[in-house]
């Protein structure tokens, strides 16, 4: 086979794999949109669920998802960035305990989400007696995505060239001043992107929430220390109802969920591009 | 740009000009001493050569340092090399003036010839003029002025030949002959001073054009 032909075949195969993924996704989306678009209206967003599909909505679930998202950011960003700063700037990398810490974080990122669910149930719901509340859900999702945020923050901090730090120190700045005034500001794009991606992953998680006791049917607005459900769970519960219309409502809810996720991801990309630096 | 380098070059040129002034003083003193047979003045001229040598040494050191530290190239390099050679020419001129002074001392008491002395006076003035032109043409990078030195030198050469002829005329007396032979050397010194001035002019032309060319003249052949 000539070299040109080989190149062409290779290119073709690559395109094919792209096509496969793309087509599957497209098929999924087309199916969902066909079913759900007619049912995407204000009632979905503003009404609580009910047994009557005509007035059923997903409001508590949407609100709960939003609350969880906000709490998640409030928890995961300080803890994640703080850990990353410690590991990158302050820790003596040669010490054994720091090496151990490093390995563990990599491992934690790979743990299946249901394990976090069990963890939450044992320690948060029962152990400290928090109960089956939204706060517990937010906390456990925090733990789930924390390793990802730490890794993203570390990458962002590492990508700040050492010459910047040296320049700061040479002017007489203390370590804290260099970190807070040079390193972190320069690392914000990476940290922001990582956090938002972590958030969008967490929003789609179902298993841990079910484990710690999210309910499948709730008709009042959620509070932080009260029972709750989340959008993925609501979708699942819609699908289990007998009426055909609920399936279509489920499709509409999926569109809402996808919209939230896409918006978050677009925001992450926007931040990444806007603040991209060339050193 | 390269401010300190330019300053150093300017300082070297200034030092060289000072050396030129010293040589002019020495020349005037030497010619005056020979024309009025003034032995004390001759001694002063001989002692003064130390000043010229000191200046020569300072310029030479300065050039060595400049070459080592600034690595001049192109026209800067030609300038430094020209200054190096001009420095030598000026120092040689100083030595020639000293020789004239020594010859003056040696011929003390011998009978002078007025015509010859008048000739020396004229040659001295010519030589002075040539030194001035040489130094000024370097300062102003004036190639035409530098080349004019050749014509001036021609005048000194002719005067030198007249000295020999004059001596043949008057050299019957033993003492006059002795004086005359020494005076031929004085004449030769003055003529050499003129040649050195021409050489300085050649360096200036080299500096300006980048080519070294001896100023040739038909009458030299």
């Amino acid at each position: 086979m000539s070299r040109g032909l080989k190149g062409g075949v290779f290119k073709g195969l690559l395109f094919l794999s792209l096509l496969v993924g793309f087509l599957m996704l497209a098929a999924l989306l087309v199916d969902v949109f066909q079913d759900g678009l007619p049912y995407l209206d204000l009632t979905l967003l503003t009404n609580p669920p009910s047994s009557d599909p005509k007035i059923a909505g997903a409001r508590p679930a949407i609100l709960a998802t939003i609350y969880i998202g906000v709490l998640l950011l409030l928890f995961v960003v300080p803890i994640g960035v703080g850990t990353a700063v410690y590991l990158e700037e302050y820790a003596d990398k040669r010490r054994w305990y720091n090496k151990l810490l490093e390995i563990n974080i990599q491992n934690l990122a790979a743990v299946p989400s249901i394990v976090y669910g069990i963890l939450g149930l044992a320690f948060l719901v029962r152990g400290i007696g928090l109960g089956r509340v939204l706060l517990a859900g937010a906390m456990i999702l925090t733990l789930l995505v924390l390793p990802t945020v730490i890794i993203a923050a570390r990458e962002a901090i590492r990508s700040v060239p050492d010459s910047i730090r040296q320049g700061g120190y040479a002017l007489g700045a203390t370590q804290w001043q260099v970190v807070s005034r040079q390193v972190l500001p320069a690392a914000i794009p990476g940290i922001a992107t990582g956090s938002i991606l972590a958030l969008s992953r967490a929003i789609g998680e179902t298993a841990p929430l079910i484990m710690i006791g999210a309910v499948t049917y709730i008709s009042f607005d959620p509070t932080i220390l009260g029972p709750f459900t989340a959008l993925p769970i609501q979708i699942y519960s819609f699908l289990r109802l007998p009426q055909e219309e609920f399936k279509l409502l489920a499709a509409a809810s999926i569109i809402v969920l996808l919209a939230i996720l896409l918006t978050l991801n677009a925001f992450a990309i926007f931040i990444r591009n806007r603040y991209r630096r060339t050193w | 740009m390269r401010i300190s380098f330019q300053q150093e070059l300017d300082e070297l040129e200034a030092l060289l000009r000072v050396e030129g002034e010293l040589v002019l003083r020495s020349l005037r003193g030497a010619v005056e001493a020979v024309c009025s047979q003034d032995v004390e003045l001759a001694d002063e001229v001989i002692a003064f050569d130390d000043d010229i040598d000191a200046q020569y040494f300072e310029v030479e050191q300065g050039i060595e340092l400049l070459l080592a530290r600034q690595t001049p190239v192109a026209s800067d390099l030609r300038l430094v090399l020209a200054l190096l050679k001009d420095n030598l020419h000026l120092e040689r001129m100083g030595d020639l003036c000293t020789t004239i002074a020594k010859l003056t001392k040696l011929t003390k008491g011998l009978p002078p010839d007025e015509t010859l002395l008048a000739g020396f006076k004229e040659m001295g003035e010519r030589a002075e003029q040539m030194i001035r032109v040489a130094i000024r043409s370097l300062e102003q990078r004036d190639r035409v002025a530098a080349e004019s030195l050749l014509e001036l030198d021609e005048l000194i050469d002719r005067a030198n030949r007249r000295v020999v002829n004059r001596l043949l005329e008057i050299g019957h007396d033993l003492e006059v002959r002795e004086w005359g032979l020494r005076m031929i050397l004085v004449s030769r010194c003055l003529e050499r001073i003129g040649d050195h001035a021409v050489d300085i002019g050649e360096q200036t032309a080299y500096l300006v054009t980048g080519e070294f060319r001896e100023f040739t003249d038909a009458s030299r052949q």
Binding site: Q166, A170, L171, G172, A173, T174 | M1
Partner: protein, 289 residues
Amino acid sequence: MITTTGQASTIEPMSLAEIAREHGDENVASRESVFQVRDLAVSYSGNTAIREVGLDVLKNAITAFIGPSGCGKSTLIRCFNRMNDLVPGAKVDGEVLYHGKDLYAADVDPVEVRRRIGMVFQKPNPFPKSIYDNVAFGPRVLAMKDDLSERVEGALQQAALWDEVKDRLKESALGLSGGQQQRLCIARCLAVEPDVILMDEPASALDPISTTRIEDLMHELKRQYTIVIVTHNMQQAARVADMTAFFSVDVAPDGGRRTGILVEYDKTAKIFTTPADKRTEDYVTGRFG
């Protein structure tokens, strides 16, 4: 006089009096010394990078460290502002006196040291902030309360950069050319009013014209500051430095350990016209290695 016979032997630091006597230059003797280095050795995780260094750095003079790569000149200059503290495993033995006080004494705060002794690096490293914020960073972190804008302008003027940036102080520093960025780094350093400016190969990443500008700037700055420069460009040292120290690499007999040593330290004119040590001569004439 620094002389070594054959292999490296104990180096005696050249005191000012000795330098003055050597060259009959009374001006030199009247200059006070800013740094006095005695028997200095630096090692990284047990490997000695440079040893047995002794010299005096003179006030308001430009002192250059030259030598082949690996001779420890960058390591040495970083001892003067305790930047080696930031390298894990770095150990400094010996004495570095700054105006008579031991820089490495237990009660000395490295942050305070770096305020007085500034540094400009090989690759210009402006912060990813505006030009104004770059120069203002130092005064801000050191809580220098007086008029910041005046300070910034003054520093930029001293660094011969003001005219080129005065209309765009709020623009990003990363938009400047390489030569401008390096002058910005110098301005940044000057804004905190240091006593000494250390320059680690400040012009090696720059084009020839920018290099000449930096060199002219150094001549200006040395009136007010003391400057120490590391350079691998000998001609640069010849052009700018008043005093030059030549370092070389001492290879252990078994061909293993490579350590930097000070070979000769003298007036630049001497180093480049009649160096005392053959190794210096070999290096400056380009016959080294």
